[in-house]
């Protein structure tokens, strides 16, 4: 193992699934710095950061669900339409029945769950490919949105707008910063330290090699610097603004879903199904249930994203959510998920989504027209995945490693001849 790889492994945990994240984090940092220079400091200024988060939080929420769908080996094209459909339903019930906003949110989530059960049923129990089911859903719920809303825009009341356009309140002593945001930053810092400390303890209990102390210091120090910087920026914006509520929702979801995908049986099963469905089935995984849950979960998150968007724009309209599915899918693939399923992480997808968001935002700040922004985003997606495919063909995963290749001689080991030479054909049930 080369030293670069060793370092990468100890810094990032280094299994194949998150190796691409390594490259993406650097890409993200590079893009941020590039735009920071090109825009003369506009990119990282508090106002821009705040609008960046509130503008992209719903796409990133979709990316969480989409990651799980893609890991399980499916796709969901209907999320934009579902978001729009739920948005209009929620706006309508608040307008017509004057439901309180928090009840309306529950209604929205329930509608999302119902839609998810519908799609999950077709995918998991009937066996219609998710591509088809959700393509149908895309049309179905887009039409449903216009049917219910009469193709009109319906405004939502003030209280509801908090989830999309709200900020942490200004409370406590006058520190020149938004106090709750400072507190949030502090909590994040403590969490980072505890996480690393517990990670080391776990490794020790396993009797596995514990990374040297200086690696742990780097692993803690770098995120801490980022968090402290972000906290001060978010807390130091225009009075009345701070870290957006939608950003908090996103952060909570990221923490919960990262935990589920990594540390629970349900999460493991999603990866198992996507990695090798037949093997998973023969290991006792309930294939249908996993597929159903994944599709249903996606629709619930789409419902949430739709409501946040409606809250932010203060009204639900017939054009909401168009193209969101593509942004979410792009985020997941840029973030290192495999097209064939079985690989990918929540955090990777978030990084992938942020790359797209910063790119979009930075180009807009530079005054680049939306035509060219789209062209650039398309190329970035293509290159990111092409790079991954190329690396896989070479049998390696890391960015830096591939730059070093000309200096190394080893070639990937050939497939075992004994297995290539079996007389008994490839049918899995011969025998």
């Amino acid at each position: 193992m080369s030293r670069v790889k060793e370092l990468q492994k100890s810094l990032f945990g280094g299994t194949t699934s998150n190796a691409r994240q390594f490259g993406m984090i650097f890409t993200l940092v590079a893009i941020v710095l590039l735009f920071e220079i090109l825009t003369n400091g506009l990119t990282l200024n508090p106002g821009n950061l705040i609008s960046l988060v509130s503008q992209y939080s719903y796409i990133l929420i979709l990316a969480i669900g989409m990651l799980m769908v893609i890991v399980a080996g499916h796709i969901d094209l209907s999320v934009g339409s579902i978001a729009a459909f739920v948005g209009i339903v929620v706006a309508k019930v608040m307008q017509d029945y004057s439901l309180p906003w928090f009840v309306a949110i529950l209604v929205g989530l329930a509608v999302g769950a119902l839609i998810g059960a519908w799609q999950g049923f077709w995918v998991a129990y009937v066996g219609v490919p998710a591509f088809i089911v959700t393509l149908a859903g895309m049309m179905l719920f887009r039409g449903g949105n216009q049917f219910i809303g009469n193709a009109n825009t319906i405004p939502v009341p003030e209280g509801f707008r908090v989830i999309g356009a709200g900020f942490l309140p200004e409370i406590g002593p006058d520190t020149g910063y938004n106090n709750p945001t400072l507190l949030l930053g502090l909590v994040a810092c403590v969490a980072i330290v505890i996480r690393e400390w517990r990670g080391r303890r776990t490794r020790r209990e396993m009797g596995a090699d514990v990374a040297p102390m200086w690696i742990s210091v780097i692993r803690v120090a770098v995120p801490l610097v980022v968090v402290v910087f972000a906290t001060l920026q978010f807390a130091g914006g225009r009075v009345g603004t701070s870290f957006p509520v939608s950003g908090i929702i996103l952060a909570v979801l990221v923490v919960i879903y990262s935990f589920i995908t990594r540390n629970t049986a349900g999460g493991r099963h999603i990866y198992a199904v996507g990695g090798n469905a037949r093997a998973a089935e023969l290991s006792g995984v309930k294939l249908k249930r996993v597929n159903f849950m994944v599709m249903m979960n996606m629709s619930i998150l789409a419902a949430l994203a739709g409501m946040i968007f409606v809250a932010r724009s203060a009204a639900s309209g017939p054009q909401d959510g168009i193209g969101w599915e593509l942004d979410a899918i792009a985020a997941v693939f840029i973030g290192g998920a495999a097209v064939s399923g079985g690989l990918g992480t929540i955090s990777g997808s978030i990084v992938g989504g942020l790359v797209m968001a910063v790119l979009n935002n930075g180009l807009q700040l530079l005054g680049v027209g939306s035509d060219r922004v789209q062209i650039i985003k398309g190329l970035v997606l293509l290159l990111a995945v092409a790079f991954d495919v190329y690396n896989k063909k070479q049998g390696r995963f890391s960015v830096i490693e591939s730059l070093m290749r000309p200096f190394r001689r080893d070639t990937p080991a050939p497939a075992s001849p004994a297995e290539a030479e079996q007389e008994r054909g490839k049918s899995p049930v011969a025998g």
Binding site: M206, R262, N263, G284, A418, P428
Partner: protein, 515 residues
């Protein structure tokens, strides 16, 4: 027959793969107008030899000479050998289900006029060819709508459309029923009358003895002998002797079995094929396993051993028709894989890579994957316990990997197999069904796997081993069942087990069934 001119001679063919010599100095002489059989156990090199002949392994990738019609041939690919009139029909038919019989016959070889397919000629010739092979169907019928036996005839018609001189059939009757098989063999005899030469590879030795004129026997990649069926008076027994004639030396760890009472019993297990519902892949199969016993299942490819095992293991194959499972004196009902695991069953599949492992996983994830509940507390996977469990197996099974965090793809076949074994040992099974546990792994690793199997039996577990290697079954098992076309045809104790007896039982319908 032996005075006919030689059509094909393969001289000292040697084909090596990295680390393995698949063919070593093999010679084959086929005379014009004869039916020449090639026999040998699985892995003897039959298919490799045919791939050399047909250009799948191009000239230059092997050493030796191919003399065809009197001159040396150097085929660069299948197309080149087909142009010379050598057509091979593989066991997995190469037909397109959604196209018609005519379209399949001329696929890639369409009669054209001015760049456009000449359907008139195609239909006329298709009708001729179909008459020739005795296929009575509308030429516009889709391939997917006719049975396997007729599909085989379409393959042969397709070969004739290419102007075949030497027809090679790889296990042509393996998937056919008795009638279709007889028709096909009759057809081959008809072709002989017309002067067409055929090579047939078959496990069904009675068919060879009845149909072929001469036979070449391969064993371990070497030519053992070539016999004239009539002149040498060759019968099934004679072929078997040639196929298995090797010495069994100590390829197995010493082991004294400690066998207890019967604890697992399957009664009258009957299963339908998942698609062809009229076909039974298992017919009234009954067997028993004792504690501490290693029970072998011998049978040819397609005999239904894997199907039987997978069907018992949570109805993972085919459609369950009838049958009972009795464990520890009580009938148990197993409807899903999770039921099976909960009842202490484990099934290690024959195909490690496609259905045994998730190749994206690392070692520790694989080891715990069939019983995650053992490492979960309060709904959360305990990484320490997971790691320790995997680490224990890595040491006790001597998996050659620096760490359990390594992906399973970095392991050799033998070590991957140990990981799969660990995965199922981790479920604390009472009965382990191991399907081809040593396939594709080297001799040293095999020895270790045998040791693991014996240790499992010594712990009082029952172990079922399905294997196509007879010496392996004889060396390892305390008792061997033979399976033929879904029926259990024999129950042979270790003391009586010899390859000839086994081969006879697994190739014939003598005992149990001829309905």
């Amino acid at each position: 027959m032996s005075d006919a001119p030689v059509l094909l001679e393969m001289r000292s063919i040697t084909k090596e793969f990295p680390g393995v010599k698949a063919l070593s100095d093999v010679n084959l002489v086929v005379r014009a107008g004869e039916i020449h059989a090639i026999a040998g156990e699985n892995g003897a090199g039959k298919s490799t030899l045919m791939k050399v002949l047909s250009g799948v392994y191009p000239y230059g990738s092997y050493s030796g000479q191919i003399l065809y019609q009197g001159s040396e041939s150097r085929f660069s690919d299948i197309r080149a050998s087909e142009n010379a009139g050598i057509v091979i029909i593989h066991q997995e038919l190469a037909l397109v289900p959604g196209l018609s019989i005519t379209e399949n016959i001329f696929l890639g070889n369409e009669p054209r006029r001015g760049g456009v397919i000449d359907w008139k000629t195609a239909n006329r010739r298709a009708a001729e060819l179909m008459a020739m092979v005795g296929l009575e169907e509308d030429p516009d019928t889709l391939i997917g709508d006719i049975g396997v036996g007729k599909q085989q005839l379409v393959e042969i018609a397709k070969a004739f459309a290419k102007n075949v001189k030497l027809l090679i059939l790889d296990e042509p009757t393996a998937a056919l029923n008795e009638d279709d098989s007889q028709h096909l063999l009759g057809l081959m005899r008809e072709f002989r009358q017309r002067g067409i030469t055929s090579i047939i590879i078959s496990h069904k030795l009675n068919e060879i003895a009845e149909t072929a004129d001469s036979i070449t026997i391969l064993r371990d990649g070497q030519t053992i002998e070539t016999l004239d069926i009539k002149a040498d008076g060759v019968d099934e027994d004679r072929i078997v002797r040639g196929m298995v004639g090797r010495e069994l030396h100590s390829r197995f760890p010493d082991h004294t079995p400690n066998i207890g009472e019967v604890f697992f019993e399957v009664r009258d297990w009957t299963v339908r094929h998942p698609i062809a519902a009229e076909r039974l892949v298992s017919k009234n199969a009954s067997f028993t396993v004792r504690r501490g016993e290693i029970v072998g299942f011998a049978g040819l490819m397609g005999a239904g051993r894997t199907e039987l095992a997978m069907s018992i293991f949570g109805r993972s194959y085919g459609t369950y028709v009838s049958g009972q499972i009795i464990k520890d004196g009580q009938e148990i009902v197993i409807k899903s894989v999770s039921d099976a695991i909960a009842h202490g069953l484990a099934y290690v599949s024959e195909d490690r890579k496609s259905i045994g492992l998730n190749l994206l996983d690392d070692i520790k994830t694989s080891v715990v994957s069939a019983k995650l509940s053992k490492v979960i507390s309060h709904g959360v996977i305990d990484q320490v316990r997971e790691h320790r469990a995997a680490e224990d197996y890595r040491k006790s099974l001597r998996v050659k990997a620096p760490s359990v965090d390594d992906p399973v793809t970095t392991l050799s076949g033998g070590n991957q197999q140990k990981v799969v074994l660990a995965k199922w040992m981790f479920t604390d099974p009472d009965l382990l069904i191991l399907d081809e546990p040593t396939r594709g792994i080297d001799v040293g690793a095999k020895y270790e796997i045998y040791g693991i199997i014996q240790r499992l039996a010594d712990q009082g577990k029952g172990v079922v081993v399905i294997s196509s290697e007879l010496p392996e079954l004889i060396g390892l098992c305390d008792r061997i069942y033979t399976v033929f076309e879904g029926t259990i045809t024999g129950d042979i104790a270790r003391a009586d087990a010899d390859p000839e007896l086994l081969l006879k039982q697994m190739t014939s319908v003598k005992k149990a069934q001829r309905s």
